[in-house]
Amino acid sequence: MPLASPLFRGDAKLEAAGESNPAHIMPNAVDEHVAKIQYALRKLDAAIIDPQEIESRTYGPSTAAAVLKYKQKRNIINRSYEQQADNIVGIMTIAALDKEMLDWYRRHPLEITGIVCKLANQAQRNT
């Protein structure tokens, strides 16, 4: 099923990770899709991720630890091949992140307030 949250939808790598096991996201991955995972972990779990990993959009040790913690907390385990949570973002994890981020966006609706300021009467005077 396509991803629905504004953060993830349309991202080719994350969409693939949600569809196919071989496309899961693993430690040492680098790119915008990693930045999105880091962002979600920070918003949903207040995860503390190494600023250098955020800056370089790298799935480093602190990102991997945050993924593991996220999965342990929600008991995300693929029983067909593992007995305990791992630090990989696969089909079940991206689906959980996507659902929670969609809820997060709904809890944080965007409001736009417009303010216009005009200088009155372009009066012409001999100054």
């Binding site: 949250s5 504004p6 953060l7 993830f8 939808r9 349309g10 991202d11 915008e32 930045a35 999105k36 962002y39 944080h108 609706p109 965007l110 409001e111 736009i112 307030t113 417009g114 303010i115 216009v116 300021c117 005009k118 200088l119 009155a120 009467n121 372009q122 009066a123 012409q124 005077r125 001999n126 100054t127």
Partner: protein, 231 residues
């Protein structure tokens, strides 16, 4: 459900005490380019003088990447050359319903917030502000408009926060007060362009002179409003 009043920036921004402002490429290349730099510097000068608790920095990236709420610059500064300006945020193009006159002497700030906290601000100034619709206003007037809008953004301030005539400063504005552009009848004297913030009054036995900008100043009232947002 009504809109929630915006009372401060999101925590990530607030703790930095730095607001990043992205001048668009087209603005940088226009006559507004140096005005933007001057407005940023003037704001920072006022901020240092009055201990506002926030400094403006020029950003190289526009606000928010795809889907992100807090990526990129905090504020975008652009001009409008077409009747309805627009901006891109959260992967969506947003059009502003409010008509912004590209040759008017006005400014517009769109404040984006969630739960009463400011996420981003998008400022638009008129591309070619005219005095009496026949010549461009001088740079001091443009600076006044730019600093005024930056105050809206930095202080999360609305029109109801504008300064009254009793405390005239760069943040005077409608509907609280009616700052007026005063221009010389001779276009060659555009250096005399100024904004009247408070009218002069003749009282028995004495005359209270009007208050003009420049100079660009902040009243204690406006200082207090901004400081409150950054404490």
């Amino acid at each position: 459900m009504g809109e929630m009043a915006i009372d401060q920036w999101i925590e990530e921004v607030k703790v930095r005490h730095i607001l990043s402002v992205f001048p668009t490429e087209r603005l940088r290349r226009s006559r507004w380019g140096p005005i933007f730099d001057g407005a940023r510097d003037k704001f920072n000068e006022l901020s240092a003088k009055h201990k506002l608790g926030v400094k403006l920095e020029t950003a190289n990236d526009p606000p928010a990447r795809e889907g992100f709420l807090d990526g990129g610059a905090d504020v975008q500064f652009d001009f409008t050359g077409i009747p309805f300006p627009s901006f891109r945020f959260r992967s969506e193009d947003r059009k502003i319903d409010q008509y912004i006159n590209p040759v008017g002497t006005e400014g517009y700030t769109a404040q984006l917030s969630t739960g009463g906290r400011m996420l981003k601000a998008f400022i638009f100034v008129p591309m070619y502000p005219l005095a009496n619709f026949d010549r461009e206003v001088n740079d001091q007037i443009k600076l006044f408009i730019a600093v005024h809008e930056l105050i809206h953004a930095a202080g999360c301030l609305s029109n109801s926060d504008h300064s009254p005539e009793a405390t005239p400063d760069c943040f005077c504005g409608p509907p609280i007060s009616t700052p007026s552009l005063i221009t010389d009848a001779d276009p060659a004297n555009d250096k005399n362009d100024k904004v009247e913030l408070k009218s002069g009054r003749q009282l028995p036995g004495r005359f209270i002179p009007p208050v003009f900008a420049p100079p660009i100043t902040l009243s204690g009232r406006t200082v207090g409003l901004i400081q409150k947002r950054w404490k």
